[in-house]
Amino acid sequence: MTRTNLMAGTILASALATGAAAQTELSMWYHGAGNEVESEIINRIVGDFNESQDEWEVSLQSFPQGSYNDSVIAAALAGNLPDILDVDGPVMPNWAWSGYLQPLPIDESLIENFLPGTKGEWNGELYSIGLWDAAVAMVTRQSYLDQFDIRVPTLEEPWTLEEFDAALVKIKESGEFAYPLDLGMAWTGEWYPYAFSPFLQSFGGDIVDRETYSTAEGALNGDAAVEFGEWWQSLFERDLVPGTSQDPADRDNGFVEGKYAISWNGNWAALNILNEYGDDTLFLPAPDFGNGPVIGAASWQFGVSATSEHPEGAAAFIEFALQDEYLAAFSNGIGLIPPTESAAEMTENYKEGGPMAVFYELSESQAKLRPVSPGYVVAAKVFEKALADIANGADVQDTLDAAVDEIDADIERNQGYGH
């Protein structure tokens, strides 16, 4: 080789070497493909992070939400997990127990003021942190309540079971609506446990016994649960709620179109309703069925995979994403609850006096996490089927017994799921 070539070669090699050392690539998976607003915001965060420093470069891959969990499981089996991934709150213990996630190496002081539902903890360690929380409320219009002379419930004084039931019957008898209440039976999947287990918990039951997490006996088929089951079945028998064959289009648009008087809906669908009815919209707290009103908590959260070679880089990205401006951006974009009060002040809907500010308080005071257990994945499916069967007319006690047996058998087969 001539001297010039040798020189050129060395310079090129060193340039490449420094270039490679300067930017380590981090792969990241996100579940928001197809959702333009979410994609735009997450792409912005990734872009800002990459520009703000030289050490790491995050490359984002988006998946459709429906197949996201299956893709992660398949990747875990093949040993192909990305560095950073996001995980649905209640599924996180299962992934942590299976060894997909490692404890989050981020600075805990950053998340001190976060809503409890956004922190994903398992076995005493923090595994994931969310950029938003989701809540559910009874959505209705002030004009409807006035028309039927129904009291407006507050956080301190929510509806009781009798009051709520009587209101539904009154609305039904007027004949003005197709159904008084829309619970969203068309949204099969995680919606059923997320939206309806709070009712069960408010009656005094639960999906599993949270003291030991080793059985569901007594919690899911005890007296409180049977009481819940019979009330649940009566809703459909009395035609107060559209049943399992509800059209998904009716679920999305029925309240706005005037088909339903009250809708049990999440705040991600609230923006649509606010746009239509503006100040007339009311977001009411869940009724108190006997043991205090409860709503669900925990949505999608970010975590670091166990096989990642650069957990510090992943942690750096997650810490970057936790800044108030991004929390506010997500909230403004998709209508979900920002995790901190300071971020809430920056948003349109959750600032003091904003139309959805009540959700922040609801989340703070009434939210209860779904059972924190790796067994939740199976328990959720069993619970969903039990609710659908009871809604369709099956015997309440037998259906709940069968659900308990299935959950118990699954916990036993997995040797207690590490509890």
């Binding site: 037998d398 087969r413 040797q415």
Partner: protein, 358 residues
């Protein structure tokens, strides 16, 4: 002799077939043996716990059955207690099946079906009622769809076997549903079957001038499975029509001419000329439809998800639900093995009944 010819002078052929054979071996034959193996373990889809051998536990769990005779509730005088409708009251089953030491063999079982026996009620219990219902539903589906679809396809084939102008248009129209993906067909028919504004309800209402009450086809346990049967038959009939057509066209026209000379009626022509010539085609079609019917899955997954009160559960749907949904891959494998044995038995029976009698 044939062995040496197959292997030696056909080296090029084997080499070209090797990729295909390789892929089939890896993706079909290997998982097949895996399924047998996994069904004897407690393998989970993802788990930090090591896999253990459990023998026939999975099979017992799926197929366990029991029988219980319930005696009516009697009051102090010994007379039978009846409720408002006059039906006899029996003790609740859960007193026997949940933690009752005298009936330990029935622990955890649920009622599958029951019938009256004099004053007593005989209850057939199963350890996994959903699986039993899935088997019954699948067998019902096969029993109805196989003859109806084959018969309908034959009728259509006879119709399009004529020498008319534009007959190809009809052939295309009848075959088109086969080309459309079953998932797309299921989504479209879900709208047709919709209980509130579905096309079917509107049509029936219009024909009967409003006398027809709208039916929630997919939400009613009695109509859900027949609705799916109708849709499946509609989608697949074109495929078998084409096979019948091929069979029809192998029948020598001289036989028809001879029959015409003899002065046979149309029914006699069909019975004595056409049908015997279609024997082999009939055997093929029957076996193919049976196998395809046992694999009923996509329609259920898209339209009813197991259906109102388990009325549209099927074996393959249960296997997928258990194996991937509930992450119990050993349970899913067990169901697959049972399905294989079921289909094998029925195919062998069919083969035996339709064998060449010489």
């Amino acid at each position: 002799m044939s062995r040496s010819r197959l292997t030696q002078s056909n080296r090029a052929g084997w080499t070209m077939a090797l990729p295909g054979f390789g892929l089939i071996a890896v993706f079909i034959i290997l998982p097949f043996f895996f399924a047998f193996g996994l069904s004897f373990t407690n393998q989970r889809l993802i788990s930090p716990n090591p896999t253990e051998w459990v023998g026939f536990d999975n099979y017992r769990q799926l197929m366990g059955v029991g029988v219980l005779t319930l005696e009516p509730e009697r009051d102090d005088a010994g007379a039978v207690i009846r409720d408002e409708d006059g039906a006899i009251e029996y003790p609740r089953l859960r007193g026997f099946t949940r933690g009752n030491p005298d009936y330990a063999h029935l622990d955890g079982m649920r009622e599958w079906t029951s019938w009256q026996w004099g004053e007593d009620r005989v209850v057939l219990l199963a350890r996994d009622v959903v699986f039993m219902k899935a088997v019954v539903n699948t067998l019902t589906f096969v029993a109805v769809v196989a003859p109806v679809q084959a018969g309908l396809a034959l009728v259509l084939a006879l119709l399009i076997n004529q020498r008319l102008r534009g007959i190809n248009v009809f052939r295309t129209i009848y075959f088109m549903p086969v080309v459309v993906s079953i998932v797309v067909v299921s989504l479209l028919w879900r709208f047709i079957y919709d209980g509130n504004d579905g096309l079917l309800n509107n049509l029936l209402s219009a024909i009967t001038f409003g006398a027809f009450e709208p039916v929630d086809w997919l939400g009613n346990p009695d109509t859900a499975l027949p609705a799916i049967m109708a849709m499946s038959i509609w989608q697949a009939v074109g495929f078998h029509m084409v096979i019948w057509l091929a069979g029809l066209q192998t029948i020598s026209p001289t036989l028809y001419e001879a029959a015409e000379i003899e002065g046979t009626s149309r029914w006699q022509t069909f019975r004595y000329v056409t049908w015997p010539g279609l024997r082999n085609t009939a055997v093929l079609i029957l076996i193919v439809i049976t196998m395809q019917a046992f694999a009923l899955f996509a329609q259920i997954d898209v339209m009813t998800g197991g259906g109102p009160l388990d009325s549209t559960q099927t074996i393959v749907f249960q296997a997928v639900e258990r194996g991937y949904g509930k992450q119990d891959i050993s349970g899913g494998s067990t169901i697959s093995v049972l399905l294989f044995l079921l289909v094998l038995t029925i195919s062998l029976i069919q083969r035996y009944l339709t064998r060449e009698r010489n």
